[in-house]
């Protein structure tokens, strides 16, 4: 019990409450503890709650001020026709939501987001896995190679976007010059200016930018695969390829599932890279839900519609996140929940 008090985390709270509730059961299970301790237990109980309150209140206050309150305000704004200033008077109910959901540009934006979600995982996962497996082998300049792969992820998104916009500049950019040099004619409008290529071009840049995260997470996951398994496999005469397929990849499961989760949420909320490269254009070809709502809000001053779009984006992201947690991550989190108390009793 003393252990529980010293670590004011969520887990200890629950186990502590359990102890308090089933006090009698505990008492019989641990006869060494005299009854006098029961009173002392209640005192520590109160102290523990006080500690929890002291430690948690600032976090809760910040959470309420910067997460809950903005969400509440966004929902409120979404029910009004509002230009961004002046009092909220023009109540329109759910009209902004029907407008957003019926808007073809928004529908396209949702499709673009889903394309980015799917293709990000489909492209970055195999690529990231391959690079991680390669970089996990003993080789010269291993540290340098890892750094090179990880650098794009560390680079600020805005800087990376500006650099890529320059590289992809039609006619005068490096990409077009190189293609012309090897005899390929680049598209007349450039890769970012041609509606048919723009989204795929943005995806290429995103892959370059975020591959490093996948690789570094997978490399970390690889460290947790016990060497004994590899040794056993080696003894059994497994080839390198078999070892990777039968041992490494399955054991990386939790890491991969967690990375997919991060990638999905990021793709749904994608804004900065698109805004810098294309502003959602050309001809709305790269419009995402986030660029749509910025365009409606700050560019057109339709803050009601922008708020409705932001609530829709929030709901979509929340549903996807919850479903994924329930259906895919549940097993992983259950495993860790079991694993933790075991470690503590030791």
């Amino acid at each position: 019990m003393a252990d529980d008090v010293t670590s004011p985390t969520g887990e200890s709270t629950s186990s502590a409450t359990l102890t308090a509730a089933g006090g009698a059961g505990r008492a019989t299970a641990r006869p060494a503890r005299p009854a006098a301790n029961e009173r002392g237990g209640r005192r520590t109980d109160r102290r523990m709650w006080l500690e929890i309150a002291v430690f948690v209140t600032p976090a809760l206050a910040i959470f309420a001020a910067f997460v809950v309150w903005p969400i509440v305000k966004a929902v409120q704004f979404s029910l009004y026709r509002w230009k961004g200033y002046g009092p909220l008077v023009d109540f329109v109910g759910l009209e902004n939501y029907t407008k957003v959901l019926r808007n073809e540009v928004f529908q396209d934006a949702v499709v673009h987001n889903l394309v980015i979600v799917v293709l990000s995982v489909a492209v970055q996962l195999p690529l990231g896995l391959a690079v991680a497996l390669l970089l996990n082998r003993r080789m010269r300049f291993q540290g340098l190679m890892r750094t090179i792969v990880f650098v794009p992820y560390v680079l600020a998104e805005v800087i990376a976007g500006v650099v890529w916009a320059q590289l992809l500049q039609p006619k005068y950019g490096i990409v077009d010059s190189l293609l012309t040099a090897i005899g390929i004619t680049p598209p007349a409008q450039g890769f970012l200016g041609t509606p048919e290529y723009a989204l795929m071009t943005v995806l290429v840049v995103l892959t370059w930018k975020y591959l490093g995260l996948a690789v570094i997470l997978l490399l970390a996951g690889l460290q947790s695969v016990p060497d004994e398994l590899y040794e056993a496999a080696q003894l059994d005469g497994a080839t390198w390829w078999q070892t990777q397929r039968r041992i490494t990849v399955p054991l990386l499961g939790p890491t991969i599932r967690m990375w997919i989760f991060l990638s999905m949420v990021g793709s749904l909320q994608l804004f900065d890279m698109v805004w810098i490269l294309t502003r959602g254009g050309p001809a709305n070809a790269t419009m995402t839900m986030a660029t749509f709502l910025i365009n409606e809000g700050t560019k057109r001053s339709n803050y009601g519609i922008a708020s409705a779009a932001s609530v829709v984006l929030f709901v979509i992201a929340l549903v996807v996140a919850l479903l994924y947690q329930r259906l895919v991550l549940a097993r992983d989190t259950a495993e860790t929940a079991v694993a933790r108390p075991r470690r503590r009793t030791r």
């Binding site: 305000k73 409120q76 704004f77 026709r81 230009k83 961004g84 200033y85 002046g86 009092p87 909220l88 320059q166 500049q169 039609p170 006619k171 005068y172 950019g173 007349a188 409008q189 450039g190 970012l192 200016g193 041609t194 509606p195 723009a198 490269l277 294309t278 502003r279 254009g281 050309p282 001809a283 709305n284 365009n295 700050t298 560019k299 057109r300 001053s301 339709n302």
Partner: protein, 436 residues
């Protein structure tokens, strides 16, 4: 000491106002700031935001503020010079929080109408009648229901800026009609010169083409009634789109124009013109200054800078001499002290406007300053502006950001070959119907 307490009181009140505005979510509650009365000698602080963040404009405005402070003992003017886009963003935020600067830049049209409706800006009609009379027709863009809410200090017109050397190289003259323009671009392309750059990635530079075609196709009465009635059913608006399609079909624009930015960086539309990569660009009166900033020698096109008005269109009902333009005016926020109005008036005085013109900061609206413009290109523009039968305010500004934004988006779609002339009218009308 007294100054400090005064400042602190202002700061505290502003802070409270901001908090109140945030928590209420409503903004615009006109609460009086301390020192709103202007007995002589009393300590007053006013705030002034402008976008002349480069010299000579920046130091000139500092001097103007100093002079006015000296003439009004006890007055402190807090001057903030912003980069233009930064200022617009900060102004929006300031209006939303109800903490707007006392004197700020107002662009007129629908934007101003929104500010007026929300009670954010002061009616200057009865406060500075002499200045309003002096400025004459220029104030039209800053009037709502016959009342003047801001004093325009620079009004310019949009036209083609071109590289005279490139034109000479191709042996072409400045075109006067749409057909001639298309022929000119053909000749330029034949010489291996990209004819026109347009920052369609930012949408508004592309939209200027449609605006100008509407100006050529529609009579003044149709346009002025459209601004108030928000009715775009006149067939001339569709014809404007058809003229634009005709120009786009000739493929005169720089490669990658759909993703080209307006005026940021060497590969923006202005950068391409400034560095001699294209022959011309349709742009506002600020273009020479922008181009100077985009070249290493800070000269832009230098002596190769040329300007010609937007060409006429055969069969159009509009006046071929009518110009598309717009400008900047000094607005005074609703709760600003009286001295702020006096300062705005001072900014439009003969002396300040003359200095403004001498520093090539824009196209002065005070007739007394007309002769003081030094830059030959700006002097040409001033002549065009003053001789134009009327200057139509940029449609996106005139109609406000909601209708204007829908309009610009649809026009940008036409540049990408994804919208018909009717689509532009429909999208504009749909957004306009929301406003009614």
């Amino acid at each position: 000491m007294t100054k400090w307490t005064g400042l602190r009181a202002v700061a505290a009140t502003l802070g409270v106002l901001t908090l109140a505005a945030c928590s209420g979510g409503t903004g615009g509650d006109p609460t009086t700031t301390p020192g709103a009365t202007t007995a002589p000698g009393e300590k007053v602080t006013i705030t002034w935001w402008h976008n002349s963040n480069n010299d000579p404009g920046k130091s000139y405005y500092e001097k103007v503020a100093d002079d006015f402070e000296k003439a009004n003992p006890g007055l402190t003017i807090e001057v903030s010079a912003f980069q233009h886009e930064d200022m617009l963003t900060k102004l929006d935020a300031a209006f939303q929080s109800g903490d707007a600067p006392d004197i700020y830049m107002e662009r007129g049209g629908g934007e101003l109408a929104d500010h007026v409706e929300a009670g954010l800006t002061k009616d200057l009609t009865a406060l500075v009648p002499d200045t309003i009379t002096k400025l004459g027709g220029s104030t039209a863009g800053w009037q709502v229901d016959g009342k003047t809410y801001a004093l325009p200090f620079s009004v310019g017109v949009v036209g083609f800026w071109y590289n005279t050397a490139k034109f000479a190289e191709a042996g072409v003259e400045a075109p006067a009609t749409l057909d001639e323009l298309i022929a000119t671009t053909g000749t330029l392309k034949g010489k291996g010169i990209e004819p026109i750059s347009v920052g369609a990635g930012d949408k508004w530079p592309a939209a200027h083409y449609w605006y100008y075609f509407a100006l050529r196709q529609c009579s003044q009465s149709v346009l002025s009634s459209a601004v108030t009635s928000l009715d775009f059913s006149d067939p001339c608006f569709v014809r404007a789109g058809e003229s634009l399609q005709q120009l786009i079909a000739a493929e005169p624009f720089n490669s990658g124009f759909l993703a080209t930015k307006a005026q940021s960086g060497a590969t923006s539309a202005s950068g391409l013109l400034a560095t001699g990569k294209v022959a011309m660009q349709l742009q506002g009166h600020w273009e020479p200054g922008v181009m100077q900033g985009l070249t290493e020698d800070k000269k832009g096109l230098g002596e190769n800078t040329g300007w010609f008005p937007f060409p006429s269109v055969t069969g159009g009902e509009g006046d071929p001499a009518a110009a598309l333009g717009g400008g900047d005016a000094w607005g005074v926020s609703a709760d600003a002290p009286d001295i702020a109005v006096k300062f705005a008036e001072y900014l439009l005085s003969d002396d300040v406007q003359k200095g403004f013109a001498e520093n090539d900061m824009g196209l002065p609206t005070n007739p007394a300053a007309s002769g003081s413009v030094k830059d030959p290109a700006l002097a040409t523009l001033l002549k065009v502006r003053d001789e134009a039968p009327y200057v139509q305010l940029y449609f996106d500004t005139a109609f406000g950001s909601s209708v204007g934004g829908a309009m610009n988006d649809a026009i940008a779609l036409m540049f990408a070959g994804k919208a018909t002339p009717q689509d532009i009218v429909d999208a504009t009308q749909a957004a306009a119907d929301e406003e009614k």
